[in-house]
């Protein structure tokens, strides 16, 4: 096994044009799932560096290999951030390495704020990639509103390297609010917790995080100007009074709590397979009841469920038919496809797109179907 590490888009393009053998595409390899056979690594970390940052336009453009942590520091110095709260999955997956922007985009990695600020793909305003034939392509740009041509930005986000190798990504940013707080309801069962979160998310108080950690509590985050956070916290607590009295976490505890939720801390160091369910929030408790899970964490108001099960359990068989999908995030052995198999017509479209962009099947073959 070799590691190939192109230093720029031209080099990457030449490499892919001549390549006939499969490649496993990686950034920092902190969030990659791979059950394929042995393959050479295509390491994108040399495509690194911030090429443009305009705080007054809320815009950042950077090489796909740029480390996430460095970008977050640069943004924080200007009081800004990536809106979608990128999860750090190293603790969950037992990976080391340094997460890169390209890896974040390839996985469409989005944390608790996704339900209010959108996913990674919603903040992504442009990118460059090289497809499996070596063709370099630009899509989108560096402005927030852009409907010129097809939105391949969305198609590439979350494509896990199967359509092309990202070389540059552009993001829309948001200011970091001055204050934050978290309401905590204790002792709710899963169904009541999802109802409480729905009530909060249906209120005008702009909840930016809604998670239920069984045994710990049901957490609702508010962010904004200091006085506004106090005001909305009070109104929200009154609204949720039927679910019990709420504790309030201050800004520091809020940051700590949501980092734990974002990174799925309850499963760190615990054995078993980990699955991620995307479901209609009100369906979540009923679905979880079918799973015989060893651990559960609800995020996105119930729309995202992290599930820990015995190794090798076929969660999809236990779920049966449901609206949504289940992704295998951590496992020792490939017992089942990582991604939920799609209905035949959708799978056929996806396969046809992969054949167009990667006709020789060299980019993470088999990962998405």
């Amino acid at each position: 096994m070799m590691t190939l590490r192109p230093g720029g888009e031209a080099g990457l393009s030449a490499l892919l044009r001549d390549r006939t053998e499969p490649l496993r595409v990686i950034g920092g390899a902190t969030r990659v799932l791979w059950f394929g056979g042995a393959a050479d690594l295509l390491d994108c970390t040399a495509l690194s560096g911030i090429t443009l940052y305009e705080p007054g336009a809320l815009t950042l453009v950077a090489g796909a290999g740029t480390p996430l942590a460095g970008v977050e520091r640069v943004l924080a110095a200007e009081g800004q951030r990536l809106p979608f709260e990128v999860p750090d999955l190293r603790g969950l997956l037992g990976t080391a390495g340094v997460s890169t922007l390209g890896g974040v985009v390839a996985a469409n990695a989005s944390g608790p704020r996704r339900l209010q600020a959108g996913a990674c793909r919603d903040s992504l305003i442009g990118l460059r990639f090289v497809d499996g034939t070596g063709m370099a392509v630009k899509t989108g740009g560096r402005v927030m509103k852009n409907v010129t041509g097809y939105d391949l930005v969305k198609l590439l986000a979350g494509s896990h390297g199967t359509l092309g190798v990202l070389t540059e990504v552009s993001f829309k940013l948001l200011p970091v609010p001055g204050a934050s707080a978290t309401l905590v309801l204790r002792g709710l069962d899963d169904a009541s917790a999802v109802q409480a979160m729905a009530a909060a998310l249906g209120s005008p108080f702009e909840v930016t995080g809604a998670a239920h950690w069984p045994g710990e509590g049901t957490f609702l985050r508010i962010e904004g100007f200091a006085e506004s956070v106090v005001y909305r916290g009070g109104r929200l607590a009154r609204l949720l009074a039927p679910f019990g009295s709420a504790d309030m976490l201050d800004g520091e505890d809020t940051a700590r709590q949501w980092q734990a939720i974002r990174d799925v801390a309850p499963f760190h160091g615990r054995p078993g397979d980990v699955w991620k369910l995307s479901v209609k929030p009100s369906d979540a408790p009923g679905l979880v009841a079918r799973l015989a899970a060893d651990g559960v964490l609800y995020d996105w108001g119930g729309g995202l469920v992290w599930v820990r099960t015995a190794p090798g359990a076929d969660l999809r068989a236990r779920l049966g038919a449901f609206e949504g999908h289940a992704t295998l995030i951590r496992a020792d052995a490939p017992v089942t496809p990582v991604f939920q198999p799609q209905p035949a017509p959708l799978a056929a479209l996806a396969a046809a797109l992969r054949r167009k962009f990667d006709p020789r099947g060299i980019l993470n073959p088999g990962l998405m179907g």
Partner: protein, 477 residues
């Protein structure tokens, strides 16, 4: 602007094709008499028109599927149409095409407040989506200015925006799922009430594909709880540059207004004469709107006021009542009508980086003088989406041509400074031939491959988005 010549073999089969359509659809769903198809000759880009072969008005997904399967078999191009409000010619027919209008599919299929979504048919108008949920305290965020008339299906095709997308995003950020019919008649469900569709993001590429990948018949849309209140402030400046810098400073300061609207002097004067909103006579005017409770609004407006005062505004008027808010918005909302009273105009839609605002406004001024055509600017400044309105006289020979040439130059300028040709209206036929300004042949090839996958015969809205010479081989195949 050229359109492909109609296929004579289709024209000669008109009677047979119309008969076959009548056989699969209710009697009133097929229109082919020239007097009756006239309503479908053009959309809101009225400079271009052409009678279609026929127009069909289905009521169900099954009917849409049957129509597409039939046209697929006959090799007849299909142009999907929502309400026909496209400013880019997205629904412009060719003589050999069938217009597929979804206007009769306007029902609400499901409303779910616990999970915050609504499922509607694609012909439902944008504003009536909000209308269906506002009594319960919710709204649908994207608000294109044609929202009274425009259809959700058209919004999805063009990925429509609006004045409030600085905070809430555009259509693609508020779309959870679709039922879509491909050209071969197959019906697909993509996404739904859950947040991510799963697999490759086909929903993301369908949204904004200008009706070239399939016909959306149903949509699941995210609805949001209405904010407690909203209030605008009006700020006048003595130069465009200063107003542009103020926009940048507001954004940097960490306030996220729901809207920052910008008007320049020609636009202010026209609006004032038309709507008498009491606007100051100045070079540039901003309308900044914030949301929340009264106290939250006060807090944000205080911050905005402090920033604005650093830039010596010639006027700063905070709304203190519903009535005053309405007056502040009145001029802005009547801008297009006001200018339409004075002149014919062409509305551009390029987006630029906010930092390039002063430079671009100055260059547009210079270009306007050298072409001898006035340009009024009114736009969404927070996200850099410009709407220069080029004023011309359609009755004066040569004026439309000069206007189009100036428009093309302004859009090239937008691309040069790092922006794009269209921020929310779409490419359609209007900006089709400028695509190579923004994209290399390879950039376009990647997009064409997506169409190849969804519509291998290139029958859906085939003469749009890409220059005709770029697509000719595919369309002929």
């Amino acid at each position: 602007m050229d359109m492909p010549l109609p296929d004579p073999s289709i024209l000669s089969r008109k009677a047979r094709i119309v008969d076959r359509l009548r056989a699969i659809l209710p009697h009133d769903a097929v229109i082919d008499a020239p007097a009756e198809t006239r309503a479908y000759d053009c959309d809101a880009l009225t400079a271009y028109r052409c009678p279609p072969l026929a127009a069909v008005l289905p009521r169900t997904t099954a009917e849409v599927s049957a129509i597409l399967r039939l046209c697929h078999g006959e090799g007849v191009p299909v142009v999907p149409r929502g309400s026909g409000t496209s400013l880019a010619g997205g629904a412009l027919p060719t003589a050999d095409c069938v217009i597929l209008g979804v206007a009769r599919m306007n029902g609400v299929l499901e409303t779910d407040y616990a999970n915050r979504f609504i499922r509607v048919q694609a012909g439902r108008t944008n504003l009536s989506v909000t209308g269906a949920v506002e009594a319960d305290g919710f709204f649908y965020a994207p608000d294109p200015s044609s929202q009274l008339a425009c259809a959700i299906g058209g919004n999805i095709a063009m990925n429509s925006g609006g004045a409030h997308c600085l905070k809430y995003g555009v259509t693609t950020n508020n779309l959870l799922g679709v039922t879509i019919v491909l050209m071969d008649g197959s019906v697909l469900q993509i996404g739904g009430a859950h947040l991510d569709p799963g697999g490759l993001d086909l929903l993301g590429v369908i949204c904004g594909s200008e009706g070239q990948l399939g016909v959306v018949t149903e949509a699941t849309l995210r609805i949001l709880p209405k904010p407690e209140g909203a209030r605008p402030v009006l700020i006048g400046f003595s130069s465009n540059e200063v107003a542009g810098t103020c926009v940048s400073d507001i954004i940097k300061a960490g306030v996220l207004p729901v809207a920052i609207e910008f008007m320049d002097r020609p636009c202010i004067r026209a609006c004032e004469a038309f709507a008498k909103a009491g606007y100051p006579d100045c070079e540039a005017l901003l309308i900044v709107e914030v949301e929340g409770s009264d106290a939250e609004i006060d807090e944000q407006l205080a911050l905005i006021r402090a920033i604005a005062l650093r830039h010596d505004p010639v006027e700063l008027r905070e709304s203190r009542s519903e009535e005053e808010s309405k007056r502040i918005w009145l001029g802005r909302k009547s801008a297009f009508g006001a200018l339409g009273q004075i002149n014919d105009y062409m509305c551009l839609d390029g987006t630029i980086p906010v930092s390039a605002l002063p430079f671009v406004l100055r260059r547009i001024g210079e270009m306007s003088r050298s072409y001898g055509l006035d340009v009024a600017n009114v736009f969404h400044a927070g996200d850099g989406n410009m709407h220069p309105l080029i004023l011309f006289d359609a009755n004066k020979p040569g004026d439309l041509d000069r206007c189009e040439a100036l428009g093309a130059d302004i859009l090239k300028l937008c691309v040069e400074v790092g922006g794009c040709l269209t921020g929310e209206h779409g490419v359609g036929v209007e900006k089709r031939d400028l695509m190579p300004v923004q994209f290399t042949p390879d950039d376009m090839e990647a997009q064409l491959r997506v169409k190849d996958v969804f519509d291998p015969q290139w029958l859906l809205n085939p003469a749009k988005v890409f220059p005709l010479d770029v697509t000719s081989a595919r369309r002929a195949a």
